[in-house]
Amino acid sequence: MKYTAQDFKSNQEVRWCPGCGDHAVLASLQRALPEVCEALGYTKERFVFVSGIGCSSRLPYYMNTFGFHSIHGRATAISTGMKVANPTLTIWQATGDGDALAIGGNHFIHAIRRNIDINIVLFNNQIYGLTKGQYSPTSKLGAITKTSPYGTVEHPFTPGALVLGARGTFFARSLDSEINLNKEIFVAAAKHDGTSVTEMLVNCVIFNDGAHATISDRENREDRTITLRHGQPMIFGKNKDKGLILDGQKLKVVKIGENGITEKDILVHDATTVETGIHSLLIEMKYPEYPVALGIIRDVKDMTYDDNVRDQLLEVKSKSTITCMDELLHSGATWEVK
């Protein structure tokens, strides 16, 4: 069956604020899923969208698929149970920086550690929107919010670093408005076996407007971000004349054509290497010292929890002599009363 984006739109009114970055992410997803279905032979009814609490967690209502809008922070655990219970389902999870990294931090890292085959879309707007403007675990140091009127005094998480620390196998990053890149990432995430985490840098027009503006402005975007593609040199900039090289144990931005640098000196992106070193350096790049890395930074193969559960079940079953409850009841030490 061939689907269009329209097939994934529910009949429910989308209630995000006008101008909210979530709209674009939703549109990207609705455009990506027909392609996912075509590539993998999926039908629409196998999709389940799961979410926790927060603005982005309203997303399941807007998808014309099965959906579960759960409680704050716990979507990852709910997705995990769903996938183990019914591995034929394709699970997508919408979550925010508060939902996934504050109240749900524990479930987030453990799902990634297990590498359960779910797709997490992390809407990072660096603020609590639904509760009207308190700082989140990704708010920049010093951020002035309603609960930090004098600025925050704590470092934010870099979500990708958390993913790597938890043995993550797939991490991508994008901007809400990069609809084509988002679509490309979502298709790759769907194809990836294991937990995929896509960090979407989204703009909250009401409580944190312009949080990502320094890198997302059309004017400067190409100079301040780099879109990584596996097997391609790490080149960026309006004129495609800047690149990244390894300088000792650090990355360094260089200009092609200056100081004898040619395209051959530029690092080639390898998303599939198990080594976390370069991936970690790419994830940690911050403007203005570096361009912010977008695209699929890491996409490596590893065993998945759900496959292992299934295989173990089959193996134990094939070796066991007990096949039903009555046999179990009579197993071990029993005695007869006559």
Partner: protein, 610 residues
């Protein structure tokens, strides 16, 4: 040397030692051998929370009581006929449980000055200090004899000393004429991968047996004839094992695969461990990162079409409260097993109580009634878990199954049932619908919604913690909210149409009705039997169904002049009854000591009001 005649109908033996002395194993092996011999048994492990508490101190004493009989046995017994005290601390902690006629076996090797001081005695004469000098005390150098028995075994000193519990077990086997074969078979299985340990363990058990027969200290041996049990095949089962098996049985009957998301917690962990073994029966277990993930993975599994279970104890129930509300409002089937322990907070983790009832009844935000079933004996945990699963799946709702540490860890012989005698379980699955699927449309009889498992085209729908209307659309409409709350409550209330009537043990009409629930059954029943033996009109209504109450509850209560509600908390069930059935006057007897009732205190309490 006093010679005592002990009632051979039933005997209570209490094994007590340091928490590393292997007393739980010794007690379990004695109980298992007795059960296999055909006796009725009931066991009560009474151990500290510390795995290895300070050596030789009272806080580190681990006990295991077993009641063995040729008659019907319903409790582990109040006081013991034989006390095994492996060190002075064990004697100090347990002397109060020894009957005036009791035999006490002590390992004299541990009763040196250091050991006596460490146990906190004021003098160097513990027996006099505890005023147990008139008991039949068997002084045996158990440690020395064990070393002697195993000196040629090739084992190191530490390993040899660990075997002294087997020597003691051998002594007890002689005293009670237990055959050694059952334990031999156990040792052969346990040490299959370390065969060099099989013969030494058998030897030390045998030497203990012979030692007891050779010394004249034990003048009498006791024979407890096999009990006159109903015909059939029997096995020994603990409450936690029975709970796990009952859940698997519900999975088999319904044809719905079992998923258990859980987090280890005393005293519930053994259920997760037991379920984890049975992958051969399609059981999936997920040891989650925390209690909340335990229940949330289960909720996800329920949505995806599995029979979902989460197991816990009191503190875990607290952590699961919000998610339990989610299961309730999304109307998904889920069994939550709470093996209650002493609280609040961490409380006394290894001790038993019934103090989670209020939490189970009321411990959630919003209007959130949840069905509650309680198990009343170790083997009854099987049926209780089976029916919890049946009602959860057929009525599309979470069900809390309350058991207790006393039941979970306790064990008893069980006549093995046949699965053909259990009812079918038919969850309301739905495969297709006309037009837009309405997730909160209900069965008009049960009020259950239908189970539309993802993967079925045309049934796409969204559920969640936000209030919805019947169509599954978010709604904050005041009247819709009131209607949905009422419908969800009505669904729980209507379960009363499907559960059995409450039974009364004893006269159906009379003077006094003892009311109990959960794991106190054995003690309350034994007390009632004592009253019946004296010709007194005292009956028992022991509730397995807490919410909703059986439909004939008021009718029963109306037939008695006095009602006394006995429970191991400050009065949770009695308060609930006062709210539900305020037309009756209730008296109450409560105990909050982290210990089960003793029969005598129930008898005394009832005699006071007779």
């Amino acid at each position: 040397m006093q010679h005592k005649v002990i009632d051979t109908q039933d005997v209570v033996i209490r094994f007590a030692g340091d928490s590393g002395d292997g007393m739980q194993l010794t007690g379990t092996l004695f109980a298992d051998a007795s059960a296999l011999y055909g006796n009725e048994i009931s066991t009560f492990p009474d151990y500290p929370a510390e795995i290895r508490a300070p050596h030789g101190t009272v806080s580190g004493v681990s006990g295991f009581q077993v009641h063995v009989g040729s008659i019907e046995i319903n409790t582990p017994g109040d006081f013991c006929d034989v006390l095994v005290a492996m060190n002075p601390a064990a004697l100090k902690a347990n002397a109060k449980w020894a009957k005036p006629t009791a035999t006490i076996i002590v390992d004299t090797d541990t009763f040196d000055e250091a050991g006596i001081v460490r146990a906190g005695f004021k003098t160097l004469d513990p027996v006099t200090e505890l005023k147990v000098e008139d008991r039949n005390i068997i002084y045996s150098p158990i440690t020395t004899l064990t070393k002697e028995s195993l000196k040629d075994s090739g084992m190191d000193n530490k390993a040899i000393i660990r075997c002294k519990n087997m020597f003691t077990l051998g002594m007890c086997f002689f005293m009670f004429n237990r055959p050694l074969e059952f334990t031999y078979a156990y040792l052969e299985k346990k040490f299959k991968k370390k065969p060099q340990l099989i013969e030494p363990n058998k030897k030390v058990l045998f030497d203990g047996f012979n030692y007891a027969s050779n010394i004249h200290a034990i003048a009498n041996t006791y024979t407890i004839q096999p009990a006159r049990q109903e015909k059939g095949t029997y096995r020994n089962i603990s409450g936690n094992q029975a709970t796990a098996w009952g859940l698997i049985a519900a999975s088999e009957k319904s044809g719905v695969p079992l998923f258990c998301g859980s987090y280890p917690i005393t005293p519930a962990t053994a259920i997760l461990e037991e379920l984890a073994i049975h992958k051969n029966l399609g059981v999936k277990t997920l040891q989650a990162e925390d209690e909340i993930a335990g229940i949330c993975t289960a909720i996800g599994a329920a949505y995806a079409g599995n029979f979902a279970v989460t197991t816990t104890s009191g503190p875990g129930l607290s952590l699961k409260s919000e998610a339990l509300g989610l299961a309730m409002i999304t109307e998904l089937p889920l069994v939550l097993v709470d093996v209650q322990r002493s609280g609040p907070s961490t409380g006394i983790p290894t001790k038993t109580e019934q103090t989670d009832l209020n939490q189970a009844l009321y411990g959630r935000n919003g209007e959130c009634p949840i069905a509650i079933i309680a198990a009343h004996s170790p083997s009854h945990c099987f049926d209780a878990a089976f029916y919890a699963g049946k009602y959860a799946m057929e009525h599309m709702m979470p069900v809390i199954l309350l058991t207790e540490g006393f039941l979970g860890n306790g064990s008893e012989p069980w006549k093995i049932p046949s699965m053909k005698d259990y009812p079918a379980i038919k969850p309301p699955f739905i495969d297709s619908c006309e037009g837009q699927y309405k997730p909160y449309q209900r069965n008009p009889e049960t009020f259950a919604r239908y189970w539309a498992v993802p993967g079925k085209a045309g049934l796409e729908h969204r559920v969640g913690g936000l209030e919805k209307n019947t169509e599954g659309v978010i709604s904050s409409d005041p009247l819709n909210h009131e209607k949905m709350c009422a419908e969800r409550a009505e669904k729980v209330a209507r379960l009363a149409n499907y559960i059995p009537d409450q039974e009364v043990i004893g006269d159906k009409k009379g003077e006094i009705l003892i009311v109990g629930w959960g794991g106190t059954f054995g003690h309350l029943y034994t007390a009632v039997k004592e009253f019946h033996a004296e010709g007194k009109s005292v009956s028992l209504a022991h509730f397995d169904f807490i919410n909703p109450l059986p439909k004939n509850t008021a009718e029963i209560f109306g037939n008695f002049k006095k009602i006394i509600v006995c429970e191991l908390n400050s009065g949770h069930f009695v308060d609930y009854l006062r709210a539900k059935l305020p037309q009756f006057k209730y008296m109450q007897y409560n105990k909050v000591q982290g210990q089960p009732f003793i029969v005598k205190e129930i008898v005394d309490a009832v005699n006071n009001i007779l």
